[in-house]
């Protein structure tokens, strides 16, 4: 294989991985945009979603209907988790110093991970995730698997759906208003609490989908599976400018491609360091991320 096709091959792999990161990053960025909170538990919502799908698929079998059912079921479970967590843990701290909310988020994340670990029917051991049979299609010396195609298509569909919700519906408009100025939004009669819950739910739905796709691509589920993709997606969100939806998508793809490139050409161990390296370089050049708005503090 020539170096050109090798690069293209890695780009294809990167796009597949990047789509998953982008989906997770969207959840981070929406939540940050609306309550200014780095929701560290977001990666673990992904784990919850993946496990929900795992139990659904092992119970009802792997068919097209089973797959769609698994998506819906895990989205509902994750959204419930997201909304309940927001109500119980984050809402009381909305006016507390930001660092308290941050630590609470880390606490919630630890509870989800370790809770999954000690619950008897989940347990600490990784399990095989039921997936469809992988078929590789070769195009011009490059191989694309059917799983990769599904991953990319599902994520693009979800991103378009999200974009429609945020840009063209009344709720989306309310979301944007709350993120722009919460107090003013509430004066305009927008039910701020409900909108924030909705945002958490929406983010969790995307995380659930990302969880299933991630578990399909690397076919296993375990309680700590959400940490690394969560952290990477978080970098992606910051990279693209946290709070910005197109930014999260761009950031996800950049990070996915960078990661597969590093793994393909340098070393797999360095890929995490490279991800953070890119983040640092971009933040130093443009402190608010690629698409971030620059807000100057005024006295």
């Amino acid at each position: 294989m020539s170096i050109g096709t090798e690069i293209l091959q890695q780009i294809i792999n990167g796009i597949a991985l990047g789509s998953i990161y982008a989906l997770i990053a969207l959840g981070y960025t929406m939540v940050y945009g609306i309550v200014r909170l780095i929701n560290f538990a977001h990666g673990d919502i992904l784990m919850v979603g993946a496990f929900a799908a795992y139990f659904f698929l092992t119970r009802f079998g792997l068919s097209t209907i089973g797959m769609v059912g698994a998506f819906l079921f895990s989205m509902i479970v994750s959204a419930t988790f997201g909304i309940v967590i927001e109500r119980l843990a984050y809402k009381p701290l909305r006016n507390a110093p930001r660092i308290n909310a941050l630590i609470t988020a880390i606490g919630v994340s630890l509870i989800l991970e370790n809770g999954a670990r000690v619950i008897p029917f989940i347990g600490p051991n990784p399990r095989q995730f039921p997936t469809i049979k992988t078929v590789n299609i070769s195009v011009l010396d490059m191989s694309v698997s059917n799983v990769q195609i599904i991953v990319v298509l599902v994520s693009i569909f979800l991103m378009i759906a999200l974009n429609y919700i945020v840009m063209s519906t009344k709720t989306g408009k309310a979301m944007r208003a709350v993120s722009y100025d919460r107090k003013a939004a509430s004066l305009m009669g927008i039910p701020v609490n409900r909108i924030i819950s909705f945002t958490f739910g929406l983010g969790s739905i995307l995380a659930a989908a990302a969880g299933i796709l991630f578990a399909t691509a690397y076919p296993q589920v375990e309680p700590y599976m959400g940490i690394m993709p969560g952290l990477k997606a978080f970098i992606a969100a910051v990279l693209g400018g946290i709070g910005s939806i197109p930014g999260a998508m761009i950031g996800g793809y950049i990070l996915g491609i960078a990661e597969t490139m590093t793994k393909g050409f340098l070393s797999s161990q360095l890929s995490d360091a490279i991800a953070f390296g890119i983040l640092i370089i971009i933040l130093l050049a443009k402190p608010t991320g690629i698409m971030g708005k620059n807000v100057r503090e005024k006295v």
């Binding site: 780095i38 843990a89 009381p92 701290l93 507390a96 110093p97 930001r98 660092i99 308290n100 909310a101 941050l102 630590i103 609470t104 880390i106 606490g107 919630v108 630890l110 509870i111 370790n114 809770g115 670990r117 000690v118 952290l231 978080f234 970098i235 910051v238 946290i242 070393s267 161990q269 360095l270 995490d272 360091a273 953070f276 390296g277 983040l279 640092i280 933040l283 130093l284 402190p287 608010t288 503090e297 006295v299």
Partner: protein
């Protein structure tokens, strides 16, 4: 003036007592070896939590990568003793200086960022340090870890006593140093940055310089803590210094009160002991601990002490005042 000498003597006596009394108790085995280990570990945690509090609580710049600094200190110290054969105290100080250099280099670009972005970039540097350490197999033993770091003393039986004494003495010295530092003009400048960066800058305080200053000192202290950790544990592995470790220290700082040095010290002893105490719950401990954390965040958001400090001198003055006023009351009553 005589008050000043009186206070200094009081504090010196307390400082010596804090080190000497538990050490002798460990020596005559009133405090068992296991508790001694916990106390030593808590001391190390206190040092690194103070270092984190200096930059996050007192300067107001949230940093999430202190485990990385600790790792640099630990590995530098162990390399200096194991490969260059330097005596341990020199190696620990060397570890501190090495970390300070790294802190300076990392701080220079990153401290231009603020708030969440700074937190993320320091988190990133912490992770990069860890990954680089895994890949520097010659010095660090890579992912397999570095075994056989020489302890504080060659005598295994005396190890718990000496470890405790060294760590606690270092902690007391650092506490004295940092309290005086905070009362100096440098310390005031740093606090003013936390209170209001813009106001500080418009009052002619070179904000960036003081942030760098605080960050470098913070890195130095974290390096010292790492240097103490290496001989205490005797084994190093890059997985000990993950992002979650940094979070552990942040939890100590927030629980003790952001900006309160004494609060940090109390919190590190409480939390280190709590983690050991909860061991009887087995794996459920891992769930209970974050629950406790969230409850504290919900019901006591400013931490144990908030921004106030426990002050022995202040306490003494209060007692004296109370006695003086009581004596006066008595006199008036007799009249």
């Amino acid at each position: 003036m005589e008050h000043k000498t009186r206070n200094s003597i009081l504090l010196a006596i307390v400082a010596i007592a804090v080190v000497v009394i538990p050490t002798s108790l460990i020596k005559i085995e009133v405090i068992d070896e296991y508790t001694a280990q916990i106390l030593t570990l808590a001391g190390i945690n206190a040092i690194i939590a103070i270092s984190l509090n200096l930059i996050s609580g007192i300067t107001g710049q949230l940093a999430l990568g202190h485990a990385g600094f600790m790792a640099i200190g630990a590995y530098t110290t162990s390399s200096l003793t194991m490969q260059l054969g330097l005596p341990l105290p020199l190696a620990i100080i060397g570890g501190g200086f090495m970390t300070a250099v790294f802190g300076f280099v990392i701080g220079f670009p990153t401290l231009k960022l603020t708030g969440d972005y700074l937190a993320i970039v320091t988190l990133g540097f912490g992770e990069i340090i860890r990954v680089v350490l895994i890949n520097m197999k010659g010095l660090t033993g890579g992912a397999a870890g570095l075994k056989g770091v020489p302890g504080f003393t060659a005598d295994i039986l005396a190890q718990p006593v000496i470890s405790f004494a060294v760590v606690t003495a270092t902690l007391v010295l650092i506490l004295a140093g940092i309290t005086n530092f905070l009362l100096s003009s440098y310390g005031r400048a740093i606090i003013s940055i936390r209170e209001d960066e813009i106001a500080a800058a418009s009052n002619g305080i070179p904000v960036f310089f003081y942030k760098m200053f605080s960050f470098t000192i913070s890195a130095f202290l974290a390096g010292i803590a790492g240097g103490l950790y290496a001989p205490f544990f005797g084994y190093l592995n890059p997985t000990m210094f993950t992002f979650l470790k940094s979070v552990d220290f942040l939890i100590i700082v927030v629980l003790g009160g952001m900006g309160s040095i004494t609060g940090t010290i109390i919190a590190s002893y409480v939390l280190t002991y709590l983690q050991e105490f909860l061991r009887f719950l087995k794996d459920y401990r891992l769930v209970i601990y974050p629950f406790i954390l969230i409850f504290i965040m919900l019901f006591r958001p400013k931490g144990l002490l908030g921004r106030t400090e426990l002050s022995l001198v202040g306490l003494l003055n209060k007692v004296l005042q109370w006695r003086a006023s009581k004596a006066k009351d008595d006199k008036e009553a007799r009249r």
